[in-house]
């Protein structure tokens, strides 16, 4: 049976399933891999259509010898997820090409199942899961059509049967999923071969860099505050701190890992959870200034940025506390001071001259800062998403010629001025503000919320945050980018304006997405413990979890057995007859079974004779049945009454 030859139709079905499974990988696999598989399928189908069998073994060996080295050249290994998937896909293609019997198709279905799973190791959306369950459903239905003797059942019936098996499997799968013990970390090292590039802020900043981010609607991270939410003007999310300036580009120094001066909180602390999207950098955006966090293998750098030991390749949640007002009375150590005032000697001469001139009239550092900010506010500095391009002496050109820029330009110029005046200063990049999602009760920080600001060292106060962009366009800080940009001529802002009505829907959607992430994607040991607590199980631990799994599984399996066998009983649709059958069954357990030829009247008589104590009720019930069965519908007795009476009837067993 298993060695039966395949038909054109069966081949078509299985080829379709392979194609659908590969579709889930279309973004990660190099395009030629699915192309080869599809070509294999089409060739085999064409052969089958022409009534010919599979090509000979030598053809297959040739194809394999050509394709496998190609894979090796592309991936260098078969160990990674993408490389493994590519190899499996090609195997499925080759298998499709050589398919002769049903056994070959069985093997292909197994590959389809595994390739589907591989897609879920990368993707994490609900739709992907739903799609792949659909693929699995279709594949299984194909299997059903293979194993049948005689004519195969049609697609509709196969799908219905497959769907029923799938539906019956759901409760069991849910129990497994909820209660199967999770491990804290991976069992072994996962080769990180993902092709995805790092996104969001980088650890360098040239003028105009953040402008590209400003147009992106992509979510960088989400935040949920436990109790109080800091005001908008204090919601600065700290990212990489840039302290090396070459006259054009700011970058992060490698030496800045030394211990940071301790911070003394001045105001209230805020507790919150940052739900990071994987951006493939090491830093985590914490509210300025981070105080505590619960992320393993991570720590604060000397400039108060939370860093993980490895780039973020999957979503993480970090619970942290921060104080928005701090001070540090420690003096700045000399090495840091030297680093934080360094400027390239031959660049931006006009800026240096301006700084020295301002410093001569404002001896106090804070006064100097105010003077620069006043300059930004009073002179015709513009805030724009489409600033003109700047040359190597970018700060000179910006301050004295173009005077048009984005937050990056202002932060860069401000920090350069401060350094030129001998005040330690640095650029901080991160995010600012955020949008509250009222449907989910959390804040969304998008790439368009990316921001750059500065910090200057004031003796006795420590690092003080100065946001020079606020001096030019206060709305930028108070309300966010979308509104500022609408005053400009950029096409993106026009789109954003038009799409305003859309944002309510978008927020709702985002809330659902966030819930999916929190409840499903991030389900872990901790969630299982909470589940056990919810079920009022004392001292929840792994052992109890396994016990609960065993109990729940046997319950579901019992239900399943009943569910599956229920369909075997020849069930009569006749409610009256069923109620009567129940009555007879009850009387039979009481010792008087109805003989097949006995009518209700005769049966009642016999019951009355053998069990006088039951005479009244049995006669009455049998008469009711006769009425329902044989006379015209009347009000004297209804089916519901009869059913209730039968249900209430509890004869005692024979007393002998």
């Amino acid at each position: 049976m298993i060695t039966e030859r395949v038909t054109y139709e069966q081949l078509l079905g299985i080829s379709g399933c392979v194609a659908l499974a590969l579709l889930a990988h279309i973004t990660t696999l190099p395009l030629w891999v699915p192309a080869i598989v599809v070509a294999c399928g089409l060739i085999r189908l064409a052969l089958a259509r022409g009534g010919r069998g599979a090509p000979s073994g030598s053809v297959l060996v040739t194809v394999a010898v050509l394709v496998v080295p190609l894979l090796l050249v592309r991936f260098h290994t078969f160990n990674g997820l993408v490389a493994g998937t590519a190899l499996l896909s090609v195997t499925a293609g080759l298998k499709l090409l050589e398919t002769r019997t049903r056994r070959d198709i069985y093997i292909i279905t197994l590959i389809i199942y595994f390739v589907s799973l591989a897609a879920l190791l990368e993707g994490d959306s609900f739709w992907l899961l739903a799609y792949l369950i659909g693929v699995c459903w279709l594949t299984t239905a194909t299997l059903l059509r293979l194993t049948s003797s005689g004519p195969a059942p049609d697609w509709r019936r196969s799908l219905r049967y497959g769907g029923r098996v799938l539906a019956q499997a759901m409760p069991l799968a849910l129990v497994f999923w909820l209660l199967f013990p999770r491990f804290a970390g991976p069992l072994w090292h996962i080769p990180n071969d993902s092709q995805t590039a790092a996104s969001g802020l980088s650890d360098t900043m040239s003028p105009g860099d953040i402008t590209q981010l400003a147009l992106s609607d992509e979510v960088a991270f989400r935040v949920r505050f436990e109790a109080a939410t800091p005001p908008n003007s204090e919601r600065y999310w700290r990212g990489p701190v840039l302290d090396v300036f070459d006259g054009h580009t700011w970058s992060r120094s490698q030496a800045s890992q030394a211990g940071a001066p301790t911070l003394t909180p001045l105001g209230p602390g805020y507790q919150y959870t940052v739900m990071m999207e994987p951006h493939r950098h090491r830093w985590i955006f914490m509210l300025d200034w981070p105080n505590s966090w619960n992320l393993p293998r991570s720590g604060l750098t000397g400039d108060y940025t939370l860093m993980q030991s490895e780039p973020l390749s999957r979503p993480v949640d970090v619970v942290g506390t921060s104080y928005t007002h701090v001070q540090s009375t420690e003096p700045l150590n000399s090495r840091t001071r030297i680093r934080e005032v360094k400027l390239p000697g031959d660049r931006n001469p006009r800026t240096k001259a301006l700084a020295l001139q301002l410093r001569s009239t404002h001896a106090d550092a804070m006064e100097f800062v105010q003077a620069v900010l006043a300059m930004f506010a009073q002179q015709p500095f513009f805030y724009t998403l489409t600033p003109p391009k700047l040359s190597d002496d970018s700060v000179d050109e910006f301050l004295f010629n173009t005077k048009r820029g984005f937050c990056g330009h202002y932060a860069s110029a401000f920090a350069a001025l401060a350094r030129a005046a001998g005040i330690p200063a640095r650029v901080v990049t991160g995010y600012q503000g955020g949008t509250l999602n009222p449907y989910g009760g959390y804040w969304i920080l998008r790439q368009s919320d990316a921001h750059a600001w500065t910090e200057v060292w004031i003796e006795g106060r420590g690092w003080v945050r100065i946001d020079p962009t606020a001096a030019i366009a206060p709305e930028r800080v108070e309300r966010g980018l979308a509104d500022v940009a609408s005053a400009d001529e950029s096409p993106a802002s026009a789109w954003q304006r038009r799409a305003h009505w859309f944002s309510g829907l978008q927020l709702r959607f985002d809330a659902v997405k966030e819930m999916w992430r929190e409840r499903i994607l991030d389900f872990d040991q901790d969630s299982q413990r909470k589940l056990l607590q919810f079920l009022k199980i004392p001292d929840p631990d792994g052992q109890k979890l396994v016990m609960l799994l065993a109990i729940a599984m046997s319950l579901v399996l019992g239900w399943l057995t009943w569910q599956v066998r229920r369909e075997l009983a020849p069930r009569s649709k006749d409610e009256t007859a069923r109620a009567y059958a129940r009555l007879c069954a009850k009387l039979a357990t009481a010792g008087i079974a109805r003989v097949p030829h006995e009518g209700p009247e005769a049966y009642a008589l016999r019951v009355a004779r053998l069990r006088p104590d039951l005479a009244g009720i049995a006669t009455s019930l049998c008469r009711q049945y006769s009425f329902l069965r044989y006379s015209a519908p009347s009000a004297s007795v209804t089916l519901g009454q009869f059913q209730a009476a039968v249900r209430a009837f509890r004869p005692k067993a024979t007393r002998l």
């Binding site: 069985y106 199942y113 190791l121 059903l144 003797s149 499997a169 499903i520 599956v564 075997l568």
Partner: protein, 320 residues
């Protein structure tokens, strides 16, 4: 490994006989006698499921785990469905089967499905042959097993197997039924001796055309007699089923005798006798059979033919 498996199967079959004894057919298959194991493909699926689980745990991907668990649950559900495909199926069998040596015996198994679900792809394995059919909900179906038989004699089947791989071929469930089937394997009809008629009537094939003309009375109907000779009017009046008999049918009975075949060995004699029985039957001539220890009085019709063939099959086997 194969022999180990075979030994286990044999042991199980013997145990089933010890435990259940002989079944009185028709029998409804209850859950206690259904066994289930994964097929080879099922084991492969198991390996893939294990790999899925490990991948899901290692990548800490809840969606991959959900998919793996769903697949595993589907396998468990399928196990129940495979078991159900056989459950409460009623089996009956034709207890006596006739065949010729060197040809095939047709064993017929009657399956009744009183439930509301279709039972698909039920296999019957008997005498190292396999037959397969499906039984629709509430209906009956016959599964034919065509088993080649080489040797003359009487084969007594005491146990046969019902098996199914439905729905997805991941599992097979099976059961043994202890029903007895007697397979009478008549000798292969061979030989070159002429029919011992000696009379002028010639061979049977011509007689029919001529014989149809000469009506010579009514005879009791026996299964196998041509329906076109049926005396329908007699039957319609409420009489016994009878057939019109023609002169050819009423011809002189002929004895097909073992002793006529001196000089041949036993099997050759039996083969010749078998051929004669068939020739006489085809000629619709009454004939009797005489073999050592057994004598069948001259008669005609299918029942007589079967009786003769069985006598030949059982010759020397000590069976009637």
């Amino acid at each position: 490994l194969v022999s180990l498996r075979q030994a286990a199967v044999n042991q199980l079959r013997a145990r089933v006989i010890r435990r259940h004894g002989r079944d009185s057919l028709p029998i409804s298959i209850n859950r206690r006698r259904i066994y289930i194991l994964p097929t080879r493909f099922g084991y492969m699926l198991g390996a893939i499921l294990a790999a899925m689980l490990i991948a899901g745990l290692n990548y800490n991907s809840n969606l991959a785990l959900a998919f793996a668990f769903l697949m595993a649950s589907m396998a468990l559900v399928t196990m129940h469905h495979c078991n159900r495909n056989m459950l409460r199926l009623s089996v009956d069998v034709t207890t006596e089967v006739d065949a010729f040596a060197g040809r095939e015996a047709l064993l017929e198994f009657e399956l009744r499905n009183g439930s509301r679900v279709d039972r698909r792809d039920i296999e019957v394995r008997c005498m190292s042959a396999v037959g397969m059919n499906s039984v629709a909900a509430g209906e009956s179906a016959t599964i034919e097993v065509i088993a080649p038989v080489a040797q003359r004699g009487v084969t007594r089947v005491t146990q046969f197997e019902l098996r199914t791989r439905y729905p997805f071929g991941w599992f097979y469930s099976w059961t043994y039924v202890q029903g007895s089937i007697a397979v009478y394997v008549a000798p292969a009809p061979l030989g070159n001796r002429a029919l011992p008629s000696g009379s002028a009537q010639g061979t049977g094939s011509h007689s029919e055309a001529r014989g149809d003309e000469d009506f010579s009375g009514l005879r009791a109907y026996q299964p196998g007699m041509p329906l076109k000779h049926m005396a329908w009017k007699v039957l319609a009046r409420g009489g016994e089923p009878v057939v019109r008999s023609y002169s050819s049918l009423a011809a002189q009975p002929e004895w097909l005798d073992w002793s006529m075949l001196e000089g041949l060995d036993t099997e050759a004699r039996l083969s010749q006798l078998c051929l004669w029985v068939l020739e006489s039957d085809a000629a619709q001539r009454p004939y009797g059979l005489r073999v050592p220890g057994k004598e069948l009085a001259p008669s005609g019709g299918a029942a007589h033919r079967f009786a003769c063939l069985r006598a030949l099959a059982a010759f020397g086997v000590g069976e009637a």
